[in-house]
Symmetry: C2
């Protein structure tokens, strides 16, 4: 008999009450007396389990009653209404086959486990309520990203992971090599001979697909990338991972205004998608992990995001009378405490801060008329601070060349990037959203290790 | 004035014939006389350009006539029908602004360029007809993959890129490190001290997400991965890249039959999506690159895929009377010449070959009752040979342990993978589709370098 998913049963129980059904899933819990027993069965198709009841007339009644938590079962029987019980229906089993046994030492017994412990078993933790919710939301949000951009005519570009250049002339990178580390080939000068490496040169893992994305925006108009990026930063914090996914749209014939509008639309679209498609999961987060979550997300959805220039923002911070750990000052980057004050106290909703001093921003950002600031934007949200960063890009060839010279970026590495300005370099703008940061925001999970399937962080690449 | 995309105009020209419009795009071609001129404008939103006509009353008439190919323009004017001309409508320009100049040396003039030359300018080639078609199809196919699996309740899992294990106990891998290659730290035994590397151990780039995907299939039932994978193979061929994307679904409570059915459904879904959503691009490939393309794809869509056991397939090959370069023999892998003979001559449609000798397949494949073969499946398609490979996975803990011991795979590295069998290891199956191989098949492009934005191959990581 072909089995039906528990999700389909929950969506329309009546339709499954005619005739027999088969359900395949894993035991979350089992209780048995001498004459009957109950199994809470979950098949991963949805958050809620299905109750299975079995009586002493079941073949192998005693063995089934002793089934270990975690075992994989195929259950055949009938779905019947149970109006007087806690759950409105259950499966009365006629046959239960254990197709994948478990053992009493199965680590995920019916008690709550700490997140820290669960991090030690990343291959199993997706079977718990918390992580089934997290990773279903992750899948829903990833798909929503594609829907958002594809429906708006953006072309999805897979930018390279292995790269010869470092995107922003900054950021610590991972080396990619096939050289023998113990005995690397050497040049006559005694240096490591990367000419004999796999690619015939030094290569690294990408820190951003943006520059490549710009090349494609000059062909397709509007593009987005969505792929893994890497930072070899020695930051052992709850917000840093060495490997994480980024969404980076890039739009030709667009400036900062269009960029902000797109970022706001995207963020609202993603939150709406998650709330609509994972209602049980979001309810679970709100009840068990982060009681302010729903309210915070609804605040985002209901308000038009505010906009303030960096210079004005610094003035507001200076005049706030608040004793910040880092006193705000024009020319310095905003600290998280400043960002949160602005979005939580001043605006009480998401706010774009624009036009930062050029010295604290990346080389590719477009210089403003004042020649001191660049057309950058950071989106700050209550509870987190910065969640999106973007800018209009410098499309003036000479200005870009001068800026790169000042910063010591090599023409050899970036000649192709300058070509984009030489040959029809339309004004363009884009932004980046760290996907894990977004997931932390939307689920309320406080540690980036808990929104990544197999997290990679300093000194940790265990599985 | 807000500009409209050329795609929107082509979809519904009448709707844009009331009042003025603005269009922003790049010059593909310009012809000008003393009194009027024509510009072929492309904005990347669709394959077909838009014709812009301008007269001597245009401000800067002379300058516009000298615009270089590749320049970025904003055109304002009216869309008018031209029933007597080759194209049914055109924009009569009232204002043309050059927002990104080009130069006479722009490499993509209005002549055909060889694919080989275009490979030297990967940052520009997406602006040509061929590559705008390839990379739009790539985006459409990528999105179709997500739609196919999401609509069927599969959960998308981002499996890790940096990994401590090597998936199949085979395949040459790229090392990921932050150690100083010139002076790596050493242990007292004189070995490289990976304890002082970023992750405190040796790490590599993933060759497949499958094993991680299996862990998630045991939580969610049906999952898929879609991400970059890497092979450091020294293969300088038109079909090998060091970095490529793989789609890897994995289904719990499924065997080889369900696996084959899913692979067939997926392949047909993807081809249908590309034909429906990129008709102009596919027409272009069929006309200019690969005249048999459409026929081949329709053959795939119209036929139920055949199925044959490996043993039977070898018998057919042996009895074929064909002089193969490599004589077929039970126990040896099928060569491309064998695969193509089976799918093109014998079945004349796609065919699944199943139940290969276990010695030539990966350790994780389920042993059949004969103990000589495993529940593997390869899908062969006319014109290419193998395009999908998959199997039911070994869910018997003891058999898997024995097989790993024979092959010398370490328990330390794979203990977590064995856990999946210890704790409710349901029968499960899955397959992998190399995304670039699929793109080559569906576009007719003969070189994998031409379906990747910035290809990485032996000795080549130029941009």
């Amino acid at each position: 008999m072909e089995s039906v998913t528990i999700k389909k049963i929950h969506e329309n129980p009546e339709a499954h009450m005619q005739g027999k059904i088969a359900v395949a899933g894993w035991v979350r819990n089992v209780r048995a007396s001498n004459r009957f027993g109950f199994i809470s069965l979950n098949d991963g198709s949805c958050f809620s389990p299905l109750q299975v009841v079995f009586g002493e007339d079941l073949p192998d009644f005693r063995e089934v009653g002793k089934t270990n938590v975690g075992a994989a079962l195929v259950v055949e029987g009938t779905l019947v209404p149970t109006p007087q019980a806690q759950q409105p229906y259950e499966v009365q089993a006629e046959l239960i086959r254990v197709v994948g046994a478990s053992v009493p030492e199965y680590p995920l017994q019916k008690k709550r486990h700490g997140l820290e412990y669960l991090r030690t078993i990343p291959h199993l933790r997706a079977r718990t309520n918390t992580f089934t919710a997290v990773f279903r939301v992750r899948s829903i949000a990833a798909y929503a990203i594609h829907r958002f951009f594809q429906e708006r005519g953006f072309v999805h570009v897979h930018t390279p992971i292995i790269t010869g250049s470092d995107c922003e002339g900054a950021g610590e990178m991972f080396r990619v090599t096939t050289l023998d580390l113990l005995h690397p080939p050497r040049t006559t000068e005694g240096e490591v001979d990367h000419g004999r490496d796999f690619f015939g040169r030094e290569t690294n893992l990408t820190v951003s697909g943006q520059l490549y994305g710009e090349a494609y925006a000059m062909a397709f108009g509007s593009i987005y990338t969505f792929g893994p990026t890497f930072r070899a930063e020695n930051s052992n914090t709850p917000r840093h991972a060495a490997e994480f996914w980024m969404v980076e749209p890039e739009m030709a014939f667009a400036g900062l205004e269009e960029n902000m509008a797109m970022a706001e639309d995207m963020l609202k679209f993603l939150i709406r998608a998650v709330l609509a498609e994972a209602p049980e999961e979001m309810e679970f987060f709100n009840r068990h992990l982060d009681p302010g979550l729903m309210e915070r997300l609804e605040n985002v959805l209901e308000n038009r995001f505010a906009r303030v220039g960096y210079t004005e923002a610094v003035r507001i911070l200076e005049e706030s009378g608040v004793e910040f750990e880092y006193p705000p000052a024009w020319g310095a980057d905003l600290q998280t405490e400043h960002e949160r004050y602005l979005t939580e106290m001043v605006y009480q909703k998401p706010v774009f801060v624009t036009d930062y001093p050029k010295e604290i921003k990346a080389f590719y950002m477009k210089e403003n008329g004042d020649r001191r600031t660049v057309a950058a934007m950071d989106l700050l949200v209550p509870g987190v601070g910065e969640i999106i960063g973007g800018s209009q890009r410098e499309d003036d060839l000479e200005k870009l060349e001068r800026r790169m010279e000042v910063l010591g970026l090599s023409r050899e590495d970036y000649g192709w990037y300058l070509d984009l300005r030489r040959f029809g370099g339309a004004p363009h703008a884009g932004f980046g959203l760290g996907f894990e940061r977004f997931l932390m925001y939307v689920t309320g999970m406080g540690n980036i290790r808990d929104v990544v399937s197999f997290p990679r962080t300093v000194k940790n690449c265990n599985l």
